[in-house]
């Protein structure tokens, strides 16, 4: 794996790799190099299987992280490509022509994180939510409990035990 990363780094200006465990590596990529890198990995290096495509919201850093996980079955290697997008106006590049199944992931990301993927088929159709008018729910600044309390009627009499407070009370009853 190290050889492959070393081989690819100059050409695609990859970031510093993280060798999570034998068989799993994460590396940062640039947006303009992504497509060529994916094609190269798929066609020349045996990373033919798109395991998943998902996003992580780094609210504090003001950016989204897109993770493309690719798998090379013969070599038992998984490579995670991390791509950072500006959180204010997130815009990704569609890869549905490389992996048709990516269109589904992109639809989900569009709906759940509000990341645009222009050109991806049916990307603007509703995927999971229906009649949703609020901000995309997987963003960190969306508070699901607050939304739930403001939307749904709750039945009274529900008692919540916050574990830390409960344990503290049990162990030190005097306080």
């Amino acid at each position: 794996m190290r050889e492959l990363i070393e081989h690819l780094t100059p050409r695609y200006s990859l970031g510093a790799p993280v060798f999570q465990r034998p068989g799993l590596t994460f590396v940062d990529v640039k947006r303009d190099k992504l497509r060529a890198l994916l094609l190269d990995l798929r066609d020349k290096h045996g990373f033919t299987h798109l395991v998943l495509l998902t996003a992580v919201d780094w609210l504090e850093e003001g950016r989204f992280q897109l993770t493309y996980l690719l798998n090379n079955r013969a070599a038992d290697q998984t490579l995670g490509l991390r791509l950072y997008l500006d959180r204010a106006n997130p815009m990704g590049d569609t890869i549905h022509d490389i992996w048709p199944t990516a269109a589904t992931y992109q639809r989900e990301l569009r709906e759940m994180f509000g990341i645009a993927f222009p050109g991806s088929p049916r990307v603007d159709e509703e995927f999971i939510l229906e009649g949703w008018t609020d901000m995309p729910p997987y963003r960190r600044d969306f508070d699901t409990l607050a939304y739930s309390q403001q939307t749904f009627v709750e039945r009274g009499g529900r008692e919540t035990h916050e574990p830390r407070a409960t344990m503290k009370h049990k162990l030190y009853p005097e306080g």
Partner: protein, 230 residues
């Protein structure tokens, strides 16, 4: 558990836009006729449900209730994870057929809607449609803690927390998930309710139709649906 973000305010300003296919338009039929179509007029059942009286004779009503109790046809609509315990219910180990409980694939022929677990907003819309299509008298059983007060999903943005706000529930079966034995016991209790003539949820729904509809509309924004059962 993370604390609630007090500053978070739900967006109540934005209205869900009417979709292209939901707008009124003119359509040319294959034989050349031009007709006006207003999908929302067509799709919505504008007529509120009727309150159906009981039989005049108590003996006849008693006999009817006995028949209804001993022939419960469940709509085969697995709305949540509870559906997985409905299957053992109909198979050799628990065999609910013994008690006259059967599966029906279409809402028109079923009397009992089992809400098997949490209802997401999207499923709630379909469950309401299925419920309204069922013939009276009809019964609703809420299965699992999540129909009672949200259960595991008490803080989820997409599941309803209290089923009886939206549909008239006759009986709840608690548990996550309730075992088939609990389901059988619950259905037996429902039978007792029916025989006593207390399971009049459909009439309750018809009497408080406006209240139920207002509750439903407060969570469901997009009412687009095909106008037949599915």
């Amino acid at each position: 558990m993370k604390d609630i973000d007090k500053s978070f305010k739900k967006d109540t300003e934005t209205d869900f836009p009417l979709r292209e296919e939901m707008r009124p338009r003119k359509v040319t039929t294959p034989d050349g006729q031009v007709i006006d179509i207003d999908p929302l007029q067509d799709y919505f059942c504008q007529e509120p449900p009727k309150v159906h009286r009981k039989s005049y004779s108590a003996i006849v009503e008693g006999f009817y209730n006995w028949a209804r109790a001993n022939s419960l046809w469940i709509l085969g609509f697995g709305t949540g994870c509870g559906a997985i315990e409905m299957r053992p219910l109909m198979t050799p180990r628990f065999d609910a057929y013994r008690y006259g409980i059967q599966w029906r694939p279409t809402p028109r022929q079923s009397n009992l809607l089992v809400i098997s677990g949490y209802l997401s907003v999207k499923t709630l819309k379909r469950a309401i449609r299925a419920y309204e299509q069922m013939p009276q008298p009809k019964y609703v059983v809420g299965l699992g803690s999540c129909t009672i007060n949200g259960g595991m999903y008490w803080d989820s943005y997409n599941t309803i927390k209290k089923l009886d706000e939206y549909l008239p529930v006759d009986l709840y079966i608690a548990g996550c998930m309730p075992r088939p034995e609990a389901l059988l016991a619950g259905l037996m209790d429902l039978k007792k309710l029916i025989r006593k003539g207390e399971a009049e949820g459909a009439n309750r729904y018809a009497e408080n139709f406006d209240w139920y509809k207002a509750n439903q509309k407060s969570v469901i924004k997009d009412w687009d649906m095909p106008d037949y059962s599915w």
